[in-house]
């Protein structure tokens, strides 16, 4: 099964941000999406998940050959899509435990019996351990008062419980110190099984030391302008984005208008 993004154009409040994105991710593949600020990486993430502010103007997104762009976010989850948020939203009064349970039950294949509260508690406890998280975490309100590291870990915890086919991780490395980064990265590795296709959005190469992508893509001005293997990320780290973006701009300037 594949997640296919085909010539995707999307705009926010009338302004076009994505200007024809093409990308195909197979289950089991790890992709990294890099690019300078404002290149449209997070817009791609929100558009894939179906944020109402991001309007698809043309193109398509398919999972297993079926278009998902008309579906509400919850229906996309049921197709196997997951988004780890760059800025997870806090919700007062909703306990982490009841939230996780709802997310878990809603991401299960249809027709399967949800686990009892005791079975679920065991399942969560195992995942918490894997992410070096304390169980008291479950009694807190959803993301409320969480540190940056706790928020990101909580996102990976949700991914671990929901077991998506395709996971988009939007700057999951941002705002983490080096220890937290390692824990989160290891978490991503443990959670991404052979059935998970992932798209890791990042500015920096540092997380790619832990999470090894097979494919690296560079985004600029709403398009993917370069794709390659892991070596591409190292070249970017050495030479900076202008190495590619500048080159591409030159190339564009040379073409007759």
């Amino acid at each position: 099964m594949k997640l296919e993004i085909k010539d995707l154009h999307a705009s926010v409040e009338g302004k076009e941000i994505l200007k024809g994105v093409d990308l195909s991710i197979g289950q089991g593949e790890a992709h990294a999406l890099m690019g300078p600020n404002g290149s449209g990486k997070s817009t791609l993430a929100y558009t894939l998940m179906g944020h109402p502010k991001y309007q698809v103007t043309s193109g398509d997104v398919l999972i297993g050959g079926e278009s998902i762009i008309k579906l509400t976010p919850d229906k996309r989850v049921k197709k196997g899509l997951f988004l780890a948020f760059q800025y997870p939203v806090s919700v007062q009064g909703v306990s982490m435990f009841s939230f996780l349970r709802a997310a878990y039950n809603n991401s299960r294949p249809p027709g399967t019996e949800p686990p009892t509260i005791f079975e679920f508690r065991e399942e969560v406890a195992a995942k918490l351990k894997m992410l070096s998280m304390d169980e008291t975490f479950l009694n807190r309100y959803l993301n409320e008062g969480f540190s940056g590291g706790e928020k990101k870990r909580a996102e990976i915890l949700q991914m671990a419980l929901m077991r998506p086919k395709f996971a988009v991780l939007d700057e999951t490395d941002s705002g983490l110190d080096i220890d937290a980064l390692r824990i989160v990265a290891e978490g991503i590795n443990k959670v991404s099984g052979p059935d998970t296709g992932s798209l890791l959005i990042t500015h920096y190469q540092r997380i790619l030391k832990y999470v090894k992508p097979q494919f690296v893509h560079v985004m600029h001005q709403g398009r993917i302008i370069q794709s390659g293997g892991e070596e591409l990320s190292r070249l970017l780290e050495e030479k900076g984005y202008s190495w590619i973006t500048g080159y591409k701009e030159e190339e564009a300037a040379q073409q007759p208008a």
Partner: protein, 474 residues
């Protein structure tokens, strides 16, 4: 501004009704005089005005002269009347079926310690001196509020709760109002008195059996927490959407006493409620927790004031409400700290969530502070449901309906989780969920359900000190 009640509409509510109520109950002369005095104040006081009340339909939203308050209460068969509202195992409860009161026995150990949970009539028979002193030193003054005066003149029922010095009542004392049929009127004058060092929980519930056009529950509840006493009061209101609810509460805390008032309002066409906390003793503590959830055309008009009259007193009131449909609410609150009330802390908060553009809510908090060595703060907000929260939860597979439900129920939690009485706290969650799902649920339904299934999600309670988070004025 629309009048709450005009003289014309009062119909049968006149001096002769006040006298007749007194005579039919063979009340002592002093009480008859109090009724007549209250009636006088009631007549003198100007009509109460509020922008929320319905146009043309006046006052209470219906014809108050239609409310049936007869001098002599009709008899009811309480067993069939309360069928479905009680498990049948209740004790320590006073039942009010329309105008008829039924008293369930107090447990022997409580009765032998001198604890009282009595109807006004019984209380007058048992301890007239006590009742007289409560009336003569009323905290809720008839000259200050038209509805305090109204209730003082026309009360057709009442409750007296008395806890002697040093007695800790370890189970809730309860009362339940049940209205049946249109034109039923319950006008209630109640006193709760906790003597020095005593402790009591008083839990009231208000329900209607069916459509209750031209029905009314009007109530004045006075709470006295004498030095070192602790009183936790809770009130759950789920009257029919055609009924009127008017309530006045005056809660006094003397030295080192503590009083809390937790209220859940879900029903009635119009609910108009005033709570005054009178922190009259050094080191006393008063807390209000107000939860409401309105829909359709419900109108809620709440006012809660904290009067700090003594040093080292701590007061807070936190209200949270969600409004659907074309419902409206207004919340007024005032913190008054007199010069003598040095080192007092006070906090007032009102937060409302609007689920539809047609719903409206206003908050008018105020401060009057005559001493610089105090900490007082208020916060208020009225906002639509947060779109980013909806997206986040939907991105976790919850449908839009489930998402809204979770966000709305969560919105109450910062206040609800602080409600000190477990029965009220858990019961309120259960009833709010019911209202969200369009089902009327009562406390008894939760008890029945609990008996059937054991699975519960762990509860998260807020314990953080609100004064640590809010310190606008010091």
């Amino acid at each position: 501004m629309i009048a709450v009640v005009s003289q014309k509409e009062l119909g049968a509510f006149d001096e002769s009704l006040a006298s007749a109520l007194s005579e039919s109950r063979s009340e002592p002369r002093w009480l008859r005089d109090i009724r007549l005095d209250s009636y006088g104040k009631f007549k003198e006081l100007p009509t109460e005005r509020n922008p929320l009340y319905t146009k043309y339909a006046s006052t209470f939203g219906f014809d108050i002269s239609g409310v049936g308050v007869s001098p002599v209460p009709a008899k009811i068969d309480f067993r069939s009347f309360f069928q479905g509202y009680l498990t049948g195992k209740e004790r320590n409860i006073l039942l009010q079926g329309n105008e008829t009161q039924v008293h369930a026995e107090l447990d022997d150990d409580l009765a032998s310690k001198g604890v009282m949970l009595l109807s006004m009539e019984e209380a007058l028979r048992k301890d007239e001196r006590l009742v007289r002193s409560l009336f003569e030193q009323r905290l809720a003054r008839p000259e200050s509020d038209k509805f305090v005066a109204f209730v003082g003149a026309f009360f057709n029922c009442g409750t007296v709760v008395y806890v002697p010095r040093g007695v800790a009542v370890d189970r809730p004392l309860r009362r339940m109002f049940l209205l049946d049929g249109p034109k039923s009127g319950v006008i209630d004058q109640t006193f709760v008195c906790a003597e020095e060092g005593s402790k009591v929980v008083f839990l009231e519930e208000l329900y209607s059996k069916g459509p209750a056009a031209s029905s009314m529950v009007a109530s004045t509840v006075e709470v006295r927490a004498r030095p070192y006493a602790q009183v936790d009061l809770s009130s759950i209101q789920l009257l029919d959407e055609q009924a009127l609810h008017v309530s006045n509460r005056a809660v006094e805390t003397l030295a080192d006493a503590k009083a809390t008032v937790s209220s859940l309002e879900l029903g009635a066409a119009v609910s108009r409620s005033r709570t005054n906390f009178l922190l009259n003793g050094r080191g006393s503590l008063a807390e209000g927790f107000e939860i409401f959830f309105t829909d359709a055309k419900q109108r809620y008009d709440f006012e809660t004031n904290l009067f700090h009259n003594s040093p080292d007193s701590t007061g807070s009131t936190q209200a949270r409400g969600v409004l659907k449909g074309e419902s409206q609410s207004i919340f007024k609150g005032m913190i008054k700290i007199v010069n003598a009330a040095k080192n007092s802390r006070s906090y007032l908060a009102h937060h409302a969530m609007l689920l539809e553009r047609t719903a409206k809510s206003d908050a008018i908090p105020g401060l009057e502070i005559d001493n610089n060595e105090v900490k007082a703060t208020h916060s208020a907000s009225v906002a639509q449901i947060d779109e980013e929260q909806l997206f986040y939860l939907m991105a976790r597979g919850l449908s839009l309906d489930e998402t809204k439900r979770m966000v709305v129920l969560g919105f109450f939690e910062p206040v609800l989780s602080r409600v000190p009485i477990e029965q009220t706290r858990e019961g309120a969650r259960f009833m709010i969920e019911g209202k969200w799902d369009g089902v009327k649920r009562r406390l008894v339904d939760r008890e029945t359900l609990l008996a059937e299934e054991g699975e519960t999600t762990p509860e998260v309670r807020q314990t953080e000190d609100i004064f640590e988070r809010h310190y606008k004025y010091r």
